[in-house]
């Protein structure tokens, strides 16, 4: 560590480690993605219908919005640790912790997205004789989709990041190498850290592209990144929930 030359060497060694251990890292990446996929599948099934339904009814805003603040305040390390204390170690228990972390951003965004659909559009749809189900499926959902998707994207990246802590609770992920410096030394730790960072960035970018793809054309114009404030917790109609990744 320290001055330029050795720092360069550290990273050269890290890339050499990646080159030498492709199959190990690939195997761990698959474990990482399996954990992420399982947790996301469950969290999606719980959070999206609930958020969309509450938003459609315009009810439960306090819970639906504040759950993401509480979610943000929950340290993922502590949650994994709670999981170990309560449930013991293993894949399922880590997955449960990840589900708990993935639900709040998706629930809040789904609620805010559907709740915030332009009331004029909903009224027009009702005036055309649409049933509540049709209003939900053909007006509210398409208009809410980009923001719902933003919540899914936040959750995916957050879960990928947190799955790195899985080995602390006895499940396998790319974190295996990062938290086991005794075995893999600094080059291994750095190499795996690079892999995790790349995985998170790839997920973020591909979901950003997907989000653009699902945005109805009429909504695409105008909004420039960096000009949209993140509203204070518990306020504002459009809450774009983003988490830093732990």
């Amino acid at each position: 560590m320290g001055a330029g030359g050795t720092t360069m060497n550290d990273f050269t060694d890290a890339f050499r480690f990646i080159g030498d251990n492709v199959s190990l890292l690939w195997h761990l990446t698959l474990d990482h993605l399996a954990l992420t996929g399982a947790a996301m599948a469950i969290a999606l099934v719980v959070a999206l219908p609930l958020g969309v339904w509450l938003g459609h009814l315009h009810r439960g805003s306090f819970v639906a919005i504040n759950i993401s603040n509480i979610g943000r305040a929950l340290p993922s390390l502590a949650l994994i640790a709670f999981g170990v204390a309560l449930l013991g170690i293993g894949f399922v228990n880590v997955m449960v912790a990840l589900v708990v972390l993935a639900i709040p951003p998706m629930l809040t965004n789904a609620y805010v997205a559907v709740d915030g659909v332009d009331p004029d559009a909903v009224e027009a749809a009702q005036g055309m004789g649409m049933t509540p189900t049709e209003v939900l499926l053909r007006v509210e959902l398409p208009l809410a989709l980009p923001l719902i998707f933003a919540g899914v994207r936040t959750a995916v990246v957050y879960v990928i990041a947190t799955a790195t802590l899985a080995p602390l609770a006895g499940a396998s992920s790319l974190g295996n190498v990062i938290v086991d410096q005794a075995t893999y030394r600094l080059p291994g730790v750095l190499g795996a850290a690079i892999c995790v960072a790349v995985l998170a960035l790839v997920a973020e970018l591909s979901f950003a592209l997907l989000q653009r793809a699902v945005t109805p054309r009429g909504l695409r114009a105008g909004r420039r990144d960096g000009e949209e404030a993140v509203p204070p917790p518990g306020e504002g109609r459009r809450v774009l929930v983003r988490y830093a990744n732990s």
Partner: protein, 243 residues
Amino acid sequence: MAFALPLAQSDPVIPEFGRGSSCVRDPDALFCWGWVKDNWSDTLQPALLQHIALTLIAIGIGSAIAFSLALTAHRRGWLTTPVVVVTGFLYTIPSLALFQLLVPFTGLTRTTAEIALVSYTLLILFRNMLAGLAAVPAEVRDAAIGMGMTARQLLWKVELPLALPAIFAGLRIAVVTVISLATIAVFVVNEGLGAPIYNGLQQTFSTELIAAGGLCVLLALFSDALLVLLQRAISPWARVARR
């Protein structure tokens, strides 16, 4: 540089019950107040204070950087996109990975932890401050200029006060995020509430990690409430405007 982190599933660790607390009688209890009382002053309180220090330093430095960038970008619009791209990139890197990637540069030090924590505040603070400034109505700005205000007066007396709600929204999110992420700093520096959580993770005795994790959540919620009160105190005009 040797920094061994035994995994949770390694050899069973003999529970450490602290100094003669009542938990010895019931080691299976999930939570034991006696332990918390006995170990408050030598374990939990120092960790809590370190955690607060880690957070305050990160928020202080992060605010200084983000706010100077935002003020510059407010005048020179082209700066916005590069800043958002770079800070967004930093924001996406998982913290455990970012902490480790900084180790070759700054070692297993508090500096490493702070650099990572600061980098997570930038995107939120920058976006919110810039959005707050951009949302100041053009008429208000024109009126201020018409009254003969200089650029500096315009900024300090008109634009910044009007941007306060957005700025505070960003601060609240950044503070809560940093408090939560600072627990991960335990992998590079043995400070903050992450230390007792990590220690607890390696034992079958769960009181320590539940107490430390709970303290961390409480600290986040308390700081959030404190910022709400602070915002009210320094923007008395907003209270009247509310419905």
